[in-house]
């Protein structure tokens, strides 16, 4: 591994100045071209800003990969209704850990992106829906918004443009389902976070039944750099259909977990090579490309380009680029059981297949993990997952089915082993972060 390869393979943009002492401040952000993209956008016609972002090819970084500019274009104009931008900062998908460090270290990139987006879609009130369990981030968002108001980037007549924008930071209260955009809107309206039937889509009837854009943090935070450095610069990274840079989050049994900002299309093998591989003495067993809701991969997919098309063609989804890597000490039945317990806990209860199905999946999985399963349980798992998948309002149900399908596909033998030997063949102590260091560094 050489420094050259890291320079070639990585492309820090959003994370470029996170190592500065006070990276979250307006002063630090300004030293790195902060609010230059906003200045350029405010000098353009609104529709031209939408077209520019659309032409850049920026796609949603929250999981679905929908073109951001197109989402903006769907907002009906001249309809006489207020328009809203709601930023989804409810980052809760297991494995996903990009928006929280981004907002902690560089909140102004989001605020600047929101100003540009609101100007484009003619919105005068925007919201950041931040998951409540991250108070350090909330503190910095409060401070960044205060600074932005004080500097005249928010409020009335922003920078003499005649454009007004109010920005409200809203803390959620602990519900994974609120990461789903329509549940998020219900939650922001002061209700239980339950998904809405679509259509109507939020672009037509969103917050308070008015046209609303719901975008992920990273999508919006990427906009200022596109406006400032140009769409051609942006498209020079990644592929034609998946252009640009993005944050990859490497976690689990890897030597050097963390955030790696790179052009779309890098492979896990390249990221692991850069990051020092798996922890010493171990090898990759299974991993998720984009959080627990994306079907898992094994070492056979190490060279899959991590962009929307590449991961899709390999049978999974790019999702949130949450690369959770597990080594050979990890019991896949344990991992899937725990994820399924999560989905059962977080199912909002609105749709029967998800509410009941996740409950029964947990019962079966717990039995199998404890060695009390029966051979026919594996087909039953598959059948229940099939009855959840695609049969609920929102993607939580699909997400719950994904680890079941994919783990049965890749590791059916391991499920069978639990059943045949009447117990789990793994020692959980060997998977811990200190399993190896306690042996080799006991003197430390």
């Amino acid at each position: 591994m050489t420094v050259d390869s890291a320079e070639k393979l990585l492309a820090p943009v959003l994370s470029a100045h996170w190592d500065e002492a006070e990276s979250w401040t307006l002063a630090s952000y300004r030293r790195h071209d902060g609010y230059q993209g906003m200045a350029k956008a405010l000098a353009m016609a609104q529709d031209d800003v939408i077209a520019y972002v659309k032409d850049s090819g920026l796609r949603g970084r929250g999981g679905a990969g929908f073109p951001t500019g197109m989402k903006w274009q769907f907002i009906p104009q001249g309809d006489g209704k207020p328009h809203y931008l709601v930023v989804n900062a409810d980052e809760s998908e297991p494995g996903t850990c990009k928006d929280i460090p981004l907002l902690f270290a560089n909140p102004h990139s989001l605020i600047e992106g929101m100003i540009i987006a609101c100007y484009a879609i003619r919105s005068n009130h925007a919201f950041i829906y931040l998951r409540g369990e991250t108070v350090p981030v909330l503190r910095r968002l409060h401070e960044a918004v205060r600074e932005a108001y004080e500097a005249g980037y928010l409020g009335k007549d922003i920078q003499g443009s005649g454009f007004d924008l109010e920005l409200t930071v809203h803390a959620g209260a602990g519900a994974y389902i609120c990461g789903e955009e329509t549940a998020l809107l219900d939650s922001l309206e002061g209700r239980r976070g339950q998904p809405r039937l679509r259509p109507p889509f939020p672009a037509v009837e969103g917050l308070y039944a008015c046209p609303t854009v719901v975008n992920n943090v990273e999508s919006i935070a990427s906009v200022p750099a596109i406006m400032n450095r140009g769409k051609d610069w942006f498209k020079s990274m990644g592929s034609e259909k998946s252009p640009g840079f993005t944050l990859y989050s490497l976690s689990g049994h890897v030597a050097r977990p963390g955030q790696y900002e790179a052009p779309l299309g890098i492979t896990l093998r390249q990221l692991l090579d850069l990051g020092g591989g798996m922890r010493p003495g171990h090898r990759l067993k299974f991993w998720t490309p984009g959080g627990s809701s994306t079907p898992m991969f094994t070492d056979e997919q190490l060279d899959v380009p991590l962009d929307y098309e590449g991961v899709g063609a390999a049978g999974s989804m790019l999702g949130t680029k949450a690369l959770q890597c597990f080594d050979e000490t990890t019991c896949v039945v344990r991992a899937v059981t725990r994820w399924t317990e999560f989905y059962a806990h977080e199912s909002c209860g609105k749709c029967t297949p998800c509410r009941e199905g996740t409950y029964w999946l947990v019962q079966l999985l717990r039995d199998i993990e404890a060695g009390k399963g029966r051979p026919e349980d594996l087909d039953k798992l598959n059948d229940i997952a099939d009855n959840i998948n695609g049969k609920s309002f929102c993607a939580l149900g699909d997400g719950a089915a994904a680890p079941i399908f994919s783990s049965l596909k890749h590791f059916r033998a391991e499920y069978e082993e639990h059943i045949e030997r009447g117990g789990c063949p793994f020692d959980p102590a060997r998977s811990t972060a200190w399993a190896d260091t306690s042996r080799t560094e006991a003197h430390a």
């Binding site: 002492a21 209700r191 989050s249 050979e328 317990e341 059962a344 996740t358 102590a429």
Partner: protein
């Protein structure tokens, strides 16, 4: 019929209309009302202020009591039933008084595998409490939590929703010992700990006014900088790539020692039925538990 008879003998009165919850004392009410109006003014529709207002009443009492629910309902022109429905949906709203410090151990898959399960088990033993239970001195409430978006710092412990990254059983036990002894505890990412009530006030939308709170713990945690440091040629040297190296086959693993509880029996079960108003008569928001405000939890 049998159930009702049993309920009656257990002292639960049925069919008698519930008295309204008591209001906050006048001075607290005036103070909270001013705060609430400030929160409501931030939203085009007043009901949007409900989640922040529930955080606000939690900052007053440490949990969402019937009095808190009544307050939210009055401020937003909702029924107490409407407010209760929302308060019971979200896990961050406590339904009984609990400790000054909420210690949450992530036991979602990645943290659990990396050691979160062991941390949680050892903390339970060390503190002598179970999940969602509070130490006798009222200092620490222990619970398992879901993925908190810090997987590159696993295993993660959250105390009053500040990040304590890369924990071990030993470091976590030291943390709770320090909390109980009243020593200052600093997160790896976040500000020096304040109490649960003070945290709830920030969540209601009131910035942390303590000097140094925003800048505490610096720009980004070490893992957040992993890619940037490599790109700048500042790669740490502690790591040698091992992928593809000596491979241990999972079939060779030693079986779980017989004394170790199977992970399936791990009590951090997430799908235990949530206690609802009906199944949780001690719940202060429960219409049946009329005098719940005076109760001290479990």
């Amino acid at each position: 019929m049998t159930d009702m008879a049993m309920g009656a003998t257990a002292g639960v009165s049925l069919g008698i209309p519930q008295l309204p919850a008591p209001d906050f004392p006048a001075d607290a009410r005036a103070r909270l009302e001013a705060d609430a109006k400030e929160v409501i003014a931030r939203y085009p529709g007043s009901r949007s202020a409900l989640l922040p207002l529930l955080h606000l009443v939690q900052s007053e009492e440490g949990y969402v009591s019937r009095t808190g629910i009544r307050f939210c309902a009055e401020m937003l022109d909702l029924t107490t039933a409407e407010v209760t429905a929302v308060a019971t949906f979200y896990t961050m709203y406590r339904r009984q008084p609990s400790g000054d410090y909420q210690v949450g151990v992530c036991t979602n898959t990645l943290c659990a595998v990396m050691g979160g399960d062991q941390i949680f088990d050892e903390l339970k033993q060390h503190l002598g409490v179970g999940n969602d239970e509070t130490t006798e001195d009222g200092k620490v409430t222990l619970e398992h939590i879901e993925c908190n978006a810090a997987c590159d710092f696993a295993p993660v412990v959250m105390i009053n929703w500040e990040f304590f990254d890369n924990q071990t059983p030993e470091s976590a036990k030291q943390l709770v010992d320090d909390l109980i002894a009243g020593r200052e505890v600093r997160p790896t990412r976040g500000a020096p700990l304040c109490t649960y009530k003070e945290t709830a006030r920030i969540l209601a939308g009131f910035p942390d006014e303590r000097p140094g709170a925003v800048e505490a713990s610096g720009g980004a945690g070490p893992a957040s900088l992993a890619g940037l440091r490599l790109h700048k040629g500042e790669a740490p040297s502690r790591v040698v790539g091992q992928r593809g190296g000596s491979a241990a086959d999972f079939g060779d693993q030693a079986p779980t020692p017989s004394g170790t509880p199977s992970p399936a029996e791990h009590p951090s079960s997430h799908d235990a039925p949530s206690r609802t108003a009906e199944s949780d008569p001690a719940h202060p928001a429960d219409p049946v538990a009329d005098n719940a405000n005076q109760e001290e939890g479990e």
